[in-house]
Amino acid sequence: MFILEKIAEYAKTDRVALINRNERLTFAQMDAYSDAVAACLLAQFGAEDRTPVVIYGHKQTEMLPCMYGALKAGRAYVPVDITVPADRVRDILDTVKPKLFIDLADICSGGEIPADLYGQRVDTAAVQQIFAEYAGQKPDASHWVQDADPCYILFTSGSTGKPKGVPISKANLDNLYREFSAWVADAKGDVIMNQISYSFDVSVVSVYVGMALGKTLYTIDKGMMENLPELYEKLATSQIAVWVSTPSFAEMCVVSPRLDANLLPQMERFIFCGEVLTHKLTETLFARFPGRAVVNTYGPTEATVLVTAMEVTQAMLEDTRPIPIGIPLNEVRFAIVDEAGNELPEGETGELLIISDSVSAGYFGRPDLTAQRFLEWKGEGCVKRGYRTGDAVYRLGQYYYFCGRIDFQVKLNGYRIELEDIENNMMRVTNVARAVVLPVSKEEKIDHLVAFVMLQSPSQLSALKTGLAIKEELKQYLPSYMIPRKIVLRESFPINTNGKVDRKQLALELK
């Protein structure tokens, strides 16, 4: 596999693969530690076993060697970030049933994860012991993941209230690298940003493409995000040349006037993915980083991170239309279809279908959901996999433009959220009878979420305290980014002619 071969190649140099605060891993260490993890997996569970390895943690230095180690032993890994609450970790473990659970952030110490959900658990100390105990062992490349094998499984918000897993195969990742790596390789500088959590697939740009190009991943963790003075201190010494993030993270950073080419003199290009890129952010970056490239990309997790790329131009900023989501990568074919599945002409808005070798085989253990969204596309002498994105899109010339969702999925601060997922989990909260969650937009994109809540019985507390109590309890079930900012208590909901809650009417109340 390209990434494993490349790591082994750079391992012969003294190149640095990862900077994580005061810790550094060279490519040689990355190679050796991942070999040790693979050797351990093969020794403990055999070469035939293919059960995915679940890795819980954040940006710990041990994360990447464990991830690549799983690949070297022919297993997929499931990265689960610390923002995921115990209830969801239980769901994921129950779905994957891992033989090895690597717990780098001690979620098990709280007693909330029953031990029968996994085979064996190892913590950070045990992982370091594996690095030492299996040092020098080099499992043969014949054990590595093969074309159709999943490399990682990412769990995303599901409308039923349970997360669903998206497996991405070696062939999918090979395709991403083949099609997109030039956009990263064009930067001369050595350092690429490693900010996106590993359980969110925009991180793959750094972890696969950046790493395979021999770049140094510079880690920005949750602690830095919560301590902005520290974040800027780190940025100033980072030497980052390739910025990879959601637009939201960059929007947060540019609020300080200090974020400019003086603070980041090596900066060459910004690569954005995961949500709408606004005119305002792009204008700010053009002004603060003259001559540097801003690259917009687009893609769902189901199609391996991104399937478009495009450098934003001054003309796009002067256009009143939104910034295009990009131009499909060479191998990728886009079809915009109406409700009957007929392809629409240029300029007309319909659902976007992605036809590409980057499209996943389907949801993990969910043939029912897979059949709803994935398809086989016959055309131009070949059969390729297709995915119905649920995104409403139109095309003008070579550019594609996003105009919202055809369902209840939203992107907030780069996170993909099914509003029904939040609603279903809110109804698990004490005294909540019904909940309707709506997005509130500001300047081209969603700013926050508001929940309208009907209680089972009147609360003795003030509205704010009641709302805070609901939010607190909801944290047991949902990651913090899915908790609505505002809770509005209602005695009843408006009903539309179909007998359903009238979301449009509720949305008007937010204006």
Binding site: E226, V255, H448, K465
Partner: protein
């Protein structure tokens, strides 16, 4: 002074999704989940546009603005 204080609290409430009468002066904004990094940024942007004062979030520790009272004192100092 009272006028500025009201404006600061209103801006804070807008970000937290709270009503001014519900907010207590010594509430721990971060611990209670009323503010996070994104919230602070939005709040500073809002306060800048109201008062025309430069507030750089990268120069402010969380502890300095962790309650409504502390936030008001911090902003008034800058005016």
């Amino acid at each position: 002074m009272k006028m500025e204080e009201t404006k600061i609290i209103e801006a804070l409430c807008e970000i937290c999704g709270a009503e001014p009468e519900d907010l207590e002066g010594d509430m721990e904004l971060f611990e209670e989940g009323l503010l996070d990094s994104f919230g602070v940024i939005s709040l500073f942007v809002e306060l800048e546009s109201i008062f025309g004062v430069k507030l750089d979030p990268t120069e402010v520790e969380r502890s300095v603005i962790s309650t409504p009272d502390k936030l008001v004192a911090f902003v008034l100092e800058k005016l």
